[in-house]
Amino acid sequence: MAIPGRLLPTAFCVFLSGALCLVAAGQSVAQEKPRYGGTLIQAIAPNPEHLVTILTTGVHIHSIGCKVYSGLLASRRDGTLGPDLAKSWEVSPDGMTYTFHLERDVRFHDGKPFTAADVKFTFEQVVAKFHPRARRVMVNMQSVETPDPFTVVIRLKRAFGPFLLSMTCPESGILPKHLWEGTDVLKSPQRLKPVGTGPFMFREAAAGSHITLVRNPNYFKKGLPYLDRIILKIIPDTPARVLALEAGEVDFIASYFFPKQQFTRLSKMKEFQFQKDTDTPGNAIIHFNIQRKPLDDARVRRALYMALNRKLIVERADFGLGKEASSPFDSRFPWLVTPEADYRKAYPYDPARANRLLDEAGHPKKADGTRFTVAVVYMSSHPLLPPTSQVLRSNWADVGVKVNLVGVERAVMQERAFGKRDYDVTLQTYTSAGDPVGLVRIYATNNSRSVFVNPTWYSNPKVDELFSKGGAAADVKIRGEYYKEASKILVTDIPSAILFERSEVDAASAKFKGLWRAGTPYERWDEVWMAGGREKP
């Protein structure tokens, strides 16, 4: 595991733009020795209904659970996977068999030893049956074998490239078999008294108020964690969370709970530090209804996209944090990015050219200066989409396209965009869950009325084939080639197009060091320490 201080703040500074790097003590932190003690207070919402990570996709529960439960592997800030309960692992060349070698001296918080039997129980009896997201990955699982107490062998029915991602918390926080076996998973009292192997132990939960976690003195990584206590304070009101941070009553607000428009103002203050891109890559996207005229014509779709000032959209809707889109997937998966499929090159912001293209496509301006009207459907309570729609309306007015904004409630939007497909253009946001397989649903053929998939009627067998090959291969180099090929087709056909890559930002008090070691928001915080603490635990 990365030793404390290995990810130097200087590295953060290079990684991020200068303005974002507000680690108060600057470069000197690198030489500073971590201290023990201190309490970190994190604001979350709403009140968690239980505390078991592998039974939910709720981020407020994951923020708690991944400090109490450990995964087999842990994600790292650079996007790679590192060890956690498994100290090493091997993948067979055909990508069908995964062997994990477990840490030997690990105990659950109740003192009982951790063995491979707990892993087998967790995957077979809980994750495969109850985890809302990982369940779909686990259908690929043939068997979980435990040849000895410290080895786990998982065999798959068919190869699945991103399988190892599911071996991290929150998809796989390992449960103690001795406490859960024979209980009704959905009703077990363990749901509110989590016992795991993680750096912090559950102490108490006061419903609607707070949850207290305390240091695990017997954590299997010797000398860790540094903090004495983590308190998760439940603050349902967004402005109240920011006020609490400013008043020093709260030390950490994860991106889900932090209103981005406060970033510009707070980032000027020395008491706070921020980290961008703490969530798995996500985007904002425009879908064209390619069954309706004139959007059935790819030339019209290209012209409309070209008329959008995506840089301005990022500035206004994502508060300058995100990035203008380049790839139909996400440029934060560098292994699938190709200059041959780049929105910025293919369709740079150019209203004059967009005007010409629309003229050529047979939609001249009428006497009132407009060409045609499109209805744009989006969710009105979404934080990013209303400002996006306002820039879009203005930009398209510049090229003579009249926009009728239809901002509606979430349920109504889902019915119109995905159920009835009654829209000309719809604005949506998607997240990848850490791998481009999470994004193929934007373009893949979809005949269902499910929400947050492809609502455009676009169906290209060639693209679908490339997607299934890209999902199956184990090596990202090979996977990348398939996705690159698909990207070229998708940029040309443009049934849907990414507008910008969202960036989520966490806010924290500057007195804490060692935050943000994981590639996902589900941090263990075993290496977090507070300035001015003790030398010894």
């Binding site: 209103p259 428009q261 103002r265 206004r316 209303p386 400002p387 729609s389 820039v391 007015a397 109504v412």
Partner: protein, 277 residues
Amino acid sequence: MRSFARRFLRNLPAAAGAAWVLGMILVCALVPWLAASDPLRVGGDAFAPPGAAYWFGTDNQGRDIWSGILHGAQVSLAVGFLAAITSSSIGVAVGAAAGFHGGWVDSFLMRVTELFQIMPRFFLALIIISLFGAGIGKVIFVIGVLSWPPTARLIRAEFLTLKHRDFIEAARATGIGDLTLCFRQILPNAMAPAVVAGSLDIAQAILLEASLSFFGLGDPNLISWGTMLYNAQGYLRQGWWLSIFPGAAIFLAVLAFNLVGDGINEALNPRLRESQG
């Protein structure tokens, strides 16, 4: 009529309210000349403070707030007047029918009125607009349909007292029909409270539209004062001008219509007239 106008204008707050209302109507008519720019046009200059370039500054999207206030006045006045006309029409019709007919018609119509009265108006409007989508027409309709019960009860009460007066009995004795009696004889004499209620309804409708917009349920294709306030919520610390101008506009408009309503009431009410000498 002249004495009414004199009494109304002698009441200084009422005159001030009327002046503000007339000013707003004038501004609405002159908007194309006063604020030519599209108030929804996103500009490069965001959060510009009030100054020579932008009198009231610009918002987070670089939109001109001065232009927004003027165009918003059109929306607010349109909603106010049209919703009040809708609610007054329904109210007068229901109240007149109930009061004139009496009996089971009265009982039935009053139960319906009570049904509408006990419904939490704002929450119902919230639900209807969020389910059927925001549009200025829907907003006017919803406010109009939900605001008529007080007018209906007022008109009914007036009808009940008027229909047994001697001049009505006399008119009835001449043999004129019910409809003529109702519309030519009773209604003109019952209109005073309806006019007062109507002008207060305008203020209520403006406020209700602003409240709906403040919850993000305004028509996104139009600028309204409530929408501007809704948008300004997140930026209270970054630019006071985002919220102060639309807030002041709503405050002054609602105040003006209330003053006008009170002024009409005082000018028409004989008892108040006497007490003023």
